[in-house]
């Protein structure tokens, strides 16, 4: 793929605007709260789109097109089953506690509800995780741009990190959130044309259906047996593992996304942030997954001279030629975008990378400053000191991410291992929050030991089962048809163990008094049910509308 001058101009305009927005917001930063929490003053339409954009990193974009080509429309389960229900739950039932407790971060909520050790465990693992995930996506972007455009890997990594640093350092979380909205628009502008063009060329949805195996164009029809569908998962593992444990664990407890809703201007806006964000979220599959599905159909079509319209990209792996799904998105762009629109598409890819990375960096600096530095290193300093620490942490976070990108490049296996470990740590987390928020009897010891044993159960399940040669280091008592099924079941086991151990330990330890937990637990908190608000502006109404829409989408593509 070769770029024309105009494509570089578009890229330059984009860089100027993101830094410009940071520059315009720099005066708004005078306290650590302004820098790290946006002073809780952002309008709801902005927080809603940022809520979605922070999750829409380059890896997500590349990965969803790749999964579309590999698994077909079943990939949409990651949105319609694995995201929307959890997002609705978080807005309706969890946001009142996050926002109402005045906690500044998710780990801080754990401290208020339980105690120091649970917070410490969560804050530390989260901080390490954000640094590595922004490093891994930086590596993925650098690799892709090098492969597709021949750009220098070092230059890609350093330049993109420098721009993210510039605007997050200038305007803090507000700047990151504002830019995420601009980036979200740009991602849609850059990739919606690709979906339309590719789909149209492949003969529309009907044309795609006629060229693909039936189990790639139905999302539910072949879920009965793992062997019948391309993902190799059965309905219970998918619903419970992905639809419940993993998605609720991510959307309801991951500070990266929760932080966006916590920056909203009031409680009602905070609750509506995820609900409004769910609307664009449920239609994203048409932008990010559809091109991948269309690519498979295109690969089976020939032009008038018998030439292939499109070939799925290949790579050498272990001496054999295998399909390289990660390049589906960029190779499609090269086939469909002329100079001009190609610049927009490429800028959209850059934008997705930056929104993901800025999300990680702004979550990292908040957790580090408040939950690690202020809690364990220096407790009673004036606020200006924490503002300084927050800004320094932003720089350090970016430098650490760059380091992680190079570690990922040098030692691919270490990254796989780390992602595995983070998976074990995250899997039981939703159990802890569910019991903590909705059962006042849950004690601090219960929560901590539940969390630790859930993580242990995740590790044990993975170690005792095999899937595609993965896991099974302690033995092989069960073999899963795919690593995805294994992941789902690892999560289910972790969650169940966490719930059981938390409950048992809570029953034998002393609970806190009700008065201590006001605003933190269901039943002890006055949740305003939006009296006086017209019915159609209430969160519950919004949630019902979203739910109906997502059910219709599921039926449509079943």
């Amino acid at each position: 793929m070769k770029l024309a001058a105009v494509d570089y101009v578009i890229l330059a305009v984009y860089f100027a605007f993101v830094i410009g927005i940071g520059w315009m917001l720099r005066k708004k930063v005078s306290t650590s709260g302004d820098f790290l929490l946006s002073g809780r003053s952002i309008p709801v339409w902005i927080t809603s789109l940022a809520f979605i954009a922070a999750n829409l990193g380059a890896q997500e974009l590349i990965g969803m097109a790749a999964s579309g080509a590999k698994y077909g429309i079943m990939t949409a389960h990651f949105y319609w089953v694995g995201a929307i229900p959890a997002i609705l739950f978080m807005g309706l039932f969890m946001m009142p506690f996050y926002y109402g407790s005045k906690a500044r971060s998710v780990p801080e909520y754990l401290k208020m509800r339980f105690d120091e050790k649970t917070r410490g465990f969560n804050a530390l693992t989260f901080a390490v995780m954000t640094v590595f995930s922004s490093g891994i996506s930086m590596y993925a972007l650098g690799l892709l741009l090098h492969l597709v455009l021949g750009w220098d890997f070092n230059l890609c990594v350093l330049a993109s990190a420098a721009i993210v640093l510039a605007y997050t350092y200038l305007g803090g979380l507000t700047s990151a959130i504002y830019n995420e909205v601009l980036q979200f628009f740009l991602i849609v502008a850059g990739f919606a044309p690709l979906a339309i063009l590719a789909c149209d060329r492949a003969g529309g949805w009907e044309g795609i259906k006629s060229r693909l195996p039936a189990n790639m164009v139905h999302s539910w029809h072949y879920m009965g047996h793992a062997s019948e569908n391309p993902m190799g998962v059965e309905i219970f593992g998918m619903m419970a593992g992905l639809g419940f444990v993993l998605s609720f664990g991510y959307w309801c407890t991951n500070f990266l996304v929760v932080q966006r809703a916590m920056a909203a201007e009031n409680m009602s806006a905070a609750r509506r942030t995820p609900l409004i964000g769910a609307i664009p979220k449920m239609f994203l599959p048409f932008v990010v997954i559809l091109p991948g599905i269309a690519a498979v159909a295109l690969a089976k079509m020939t032009g008038p001279g018998g030439e292939h319209l499109y070939d799925l990209p290949m790579k050498l792996s272990g001496g054999a030629n295998v399909k390289d799904y990660d390049q589906v998105l960029t190779t499609l762009m090269a086939r469909f975008y002329p100079a001009g629109l190609l610049g927009v598409g490429l800028t959209g890819l850059m934008a997705s990378f930056m929104s993901g990375m800025a999300g990680n960096v702004t979550a990292f600096n908040t957790v580090f400053t408040y939950d690690i530095y202020q809690s364990y290193i220096k407790k009673d300093a004036p606020d200006s000191h924490y503002l300084m620490v927050g800004k320094m942490t932003t720089i350090v976070g970016v430098i650490l991410s760059i380091g992680a990108a190079y570690v990922a490049r040098r030692y691919n296996n270490i990254m796989d291992l780390l992602q595995l470990v983070f998976g074990f740590v995250n899997a039981p987390l939703f159990g802890t929050f569910l019991l903590g928020m909705f059962w006042k009897r849950t004690t601090a010891h219960g929560a901590f030991f539940g969390l630790i044993s859930g993580t242990g159960a995740a590790f044990a399940t993975w170690g005792l089962t095999l899937a595609e040669g993965k896991g099974g280091i302690f033995g092989d008592i069960y073999t899963f048809p795919s690593t995805m099924a294994q992941n789902f079941w690892v999560a289910i086991m972790a969650f169940v163990t966490c719930i059981v151990v938390t409950t048992v330990v809570s029953m034998v330890t002393t609970p806190r008094t009700d008065r201590d937990m006001e605003g933190l637990v269901y039943g002890l908190t006055k949740i305003r049910h939006d009296e006086g608000v017209v019915w159609y502006k209430r969160p519950a109404t919004l949630a019902v509308v979203v739910l109906i829409l997502v059910i219709l989408l599921n039926i449509w593509f079943a």
Binding site: V13, M24, Y178, V181, L298, P338
Partner: protein
């Protein structure tokens, strides 16, 4: 407080204008698998979107 609609509106107006100009100056520019002038269409769409954002921002300012 900065109204985000202003900078993002300008961004899409500029981006749309650039792509539209390419579509007008080189109407025969095609990628291997496209047979319409996609720069023209997407340029106009982005211009309209940018203009819409600016219009909304102006209306909010007048209130």
């Amino acid at each position: 407080m900065l109204d985000l609609r202003v900078p993002s509106g300008w961004f899409f107006v500029i981006l749309g204008a650039i792509v539209l100009v390419v579509g007008l100056v080189q109407p025969d520019l095609r990628a291997p698998l496209t047979d319409v002038n996609v720069n023209l269409y997407s340029g106009v769409s982005m211009l309209v979107f940018g203009g819409f954002l600016l219009l909304m921002a102006r209306r909010a300012l007048k209130k």
